[in-house]
Symmetry: C2
Subunit: 450 residues, 2 copies
């Protein structure tokens, strides 16, 4: 039952925008989900999008703003006055409002804050602005339902009705003392199945996972996944309840984390999308390419060392790309498996056992691949037997060394507190290229004696 | 407030296991979260793990089973009788129970099902076994709260109390007619803030996202994320409510999807972990390596075509790994960005615009890198100016071609319904290696005329 933008719908929409038929536009879009309207805005020209945005009422546009692509949101916010932006923010939950404010210039930020109507809400938003984006404080919102341990179920439900008015999802009800110290939680289910005179102190669950404001976002994600939580309360350093993080915010953290590893493995150093500007894409891609190019210089130098072999054993040079590519591929495979193991915390056993395993694994792969290479060099490529023997030995050696580099570089980086995903992609391919070529020609020199 | 296994704790635990002190073990583990106990079991020897597992009561062990690594779960299930397994499953939600049954041999499966005590529960589990794993039917569970449109809020709350007993998380309350056709939902919040005599038909929300049993899991994930849903009802083809999917099941789908792309980009063809057996790891890694090796054969052949240049322009061959590596790196970057764009549905604009953009982008990168290469070849590598000019021109051409291949191969695969992530990793590096070398030597031949 997802909405799909049909051509007919789009044609009608454009007609209404052109004719400035506000009424018809309202009817057309009234029942539509804000995520769908955001999708429509992104498909329109900016002029049409801003017109449509201003036609819709602020309850809807606030949610739409959240769904929009960052670039389009920035453009639209630039066209709104501080007062108009404040009206949008008044409709949003605190953390969503804080996220949008954080995107504004510091001058506009202050103007917008001073225009916020609901004072409590404004205070909460300003509080949230203090926390770094990638911490529990940056993820949490202030909206939550909390009850005092001294109430009974009846008063509790009455209070909850008031508090719940402003909250889209209740999840758990947190229990605090008079000092706002977090004591435990009440589950909605328990509340539905308990008589109304029971005191809260008798029904609440004392065991409760919580995080502190400065816990890292990925750590919050890990804890929520491990304990299968849909919401987690956030306390300050003293244990006072200050906010709550819900699973939908964590889904983004999990996705971003996976995306980042993927991009690093592909040699892209910033969070970019296909539709970003050429300049942004270049900034994200060029650094790794420069690194790879400098690695390439080293490989030219290394090959130059063995240039003397060209007169009598020129065929050797035809195999350098093959050997380098295999080294790179094996290295990337090994490092990807380790990076995932580190990320999911599933690496067990000692380093020595891992060494034994990686060597056995690459010996197995190496022997199979080397057999194919030996047969291929003889029957398909028609090179001399001795060259076939050299590339075969070189391939096995290169595969073992490359897989060891691929395995231990990420482990080492992780030990030093550096993101091991940095070791995948261009870094590992380039260093393995060089090692591969060096090993190959060293073996050739030992056998052929040039 | 996450539990960390301390050395002291572990020592005590082992002592109790050795001494078979059941009482002390129960005290030690009684308050512990099942996810923590699962972690502990994975760190023990299998003998100790199975002893501990049998000491704990089945309410706890059922949840522990779910958290365990697949291998250890399989080993433990092998040691339990069908009756014992059925006791575990009676404690679990339907879809979790179905997932575990699906892992059993078909003989044991039937024995376990016949031992299930709660008949309703058993029927629901058997129903769920019919659905393929990667569909809405395979993800959903049968536990949900549903109310009839003809009830009022008072009856509704009474009924909900009964239904909620067996459900860990209520989320929404679904409204159905006498035929079980899904009509809409009641939010808990609305229920908390509505007077008890109001008829349900007046308060329920008619607009509701739902999916059909055979909707693909990634599609369910996309819809739930787009509309920011924490639960989505599942209907059969006729619109009757048959189950519900919650966000925690979707988190796994999102993670698996990201992992799969990452592994494909690294040339690993199956879902493997660092701790899998050598045979499994080889099966996942070898196919791509064989492909890369065959690609390597082609590169040897291509280089052979230009072997004549070796006598007078041997230096050219020193640059082949550099050119091949740059082609591979650029290709992987381009394809990764496109694969992500396709996955997140953020690719907009026509193919022609994308072509223009990709060419501009690679021209910009290419010119910068070529400048570095030209200067480097002269000052660092000391090759003749003419060789420097050739590699510089080749690098720009190779970068453009490689980025076009990297961009359009995934788009093409996607058009034919093939997973575009297949095009990243070894596939793109190998084909770009070959193209790069071919372009490089063709340019060299044109300029030097060998």
């Amino acid at each position: 039952m997802e909405f799909k933008i049909s051509k007919g719908f789009f044609k009608e929409l454009k007609k209404f925008i052109k004719g400035k038929n506000k009424k018809e536009l309202e009817v057309l879009l009234n029942d539509m989900h804000h995520a769908d309207i955001a999708e429509i805005l992104e498909k329109l020209s900016f002029k049409s999008a801003i017109y449509l945005f201003k036609v819709l009422d602020s309850e809807k546009t606030a949610e739409i703003l959240l769904e929009l692509d960052e670039d389009l949101r920035e453009k639209i916010l630039n066209r709104l006055s501080p007062k108009e932006i404040a009206e949008e923010l008044d409709e949003l939950e605190t953390n969503d409002a804080a996220d949008i404010i954080a995107e504004l210039s510091s001058l506009k930020k202050d103007q917008v804050i001073s225009e916020l109507q609901d004072e409590e809400h404004a205070k909460d938003i300003v509080d949230l602005l203090r926390y770094p984006e990638n911490t529990a404080g940056g993820l949490m919102h202030k909206e939550l339902v909390k009850v005092n341990e001294n109430w009974n179920v009846f008063i509790c439900i009455k209070q909850m009705r008031i508090q719940a008015e402003n909250i889209s999802r209740v999840h758990s009800i947190y229990v605090v003392d008079d000092e706002d110290m977090l004591l435990g939680r009440l589950s909605l289910k328990d509340l539905l199945t308990t008589s109304s005179k029971t005191p809260i102190s008798e029904v609440y669950i004392k065991k409760l996972n919580s995080v502190i404001v400065d816990t890292e976002d990925v750590e919050v994600a890990r804890i929520m996944q491990k304990y299968d939580l849909e919401a987690i309360p956030v306390t300050d350093e003293m244990g006072r309840l200050v906010g709550r993080i819900t699973i939908d915010d964590i889904v983004d953290v999990i996705k971003d984390e996976a995306t980042e590893d993927y991009q690093l493995a592909a040699g892209i150093s910033q969070d970019v999308e296909a539709d970003d500007s050429i300049l942004e894409l270049t900034k994200a891609r060029l650094p790794w390419l420069v690194l790879a190019l400098l690695g390439g210089f080293v490989s030219v130098k290394v090959l130059g060392l063995f240039g003397g072999a060209m007169t009598n054993h020129g065929n050797l040079f035809f195999f350098t790309p093959l050997i380098a590519a295999m080294a790179g591929n094996v290295g990337v495979q090994s490092s990807a498996i380790i990076v995932q193991g580190l990320a999911n915390d599933t690496l067990s056993g000692s380093l020595f056992n891992r060494l034994i395993k990686e060597v056995s694994l690459s010996l197995l792969n190496g022997v199979i691949l080397a057999t194919i290479l030996f047969l291929g060099s003889h029957f398909l490529l028609n090179v001399e037997i001795i060259i076939g023997i050299i590339v075969t030995i070189a391939l096995i050696s290169v595969i073992i060394i490359a897989s060891l580099i691929g395995t231990f570089v990420p482990i080492l980086l992780d030990k030093f507190g550096i993101d091991p995903a940095l070791a995948t992609g261009p870094f590992i391919t380039t260093s393995n290229d060089i090692c591969g070529i060096l090993i190959y020609f060293t073996i050739a020199r030992l056998i052929l004696g040039f």
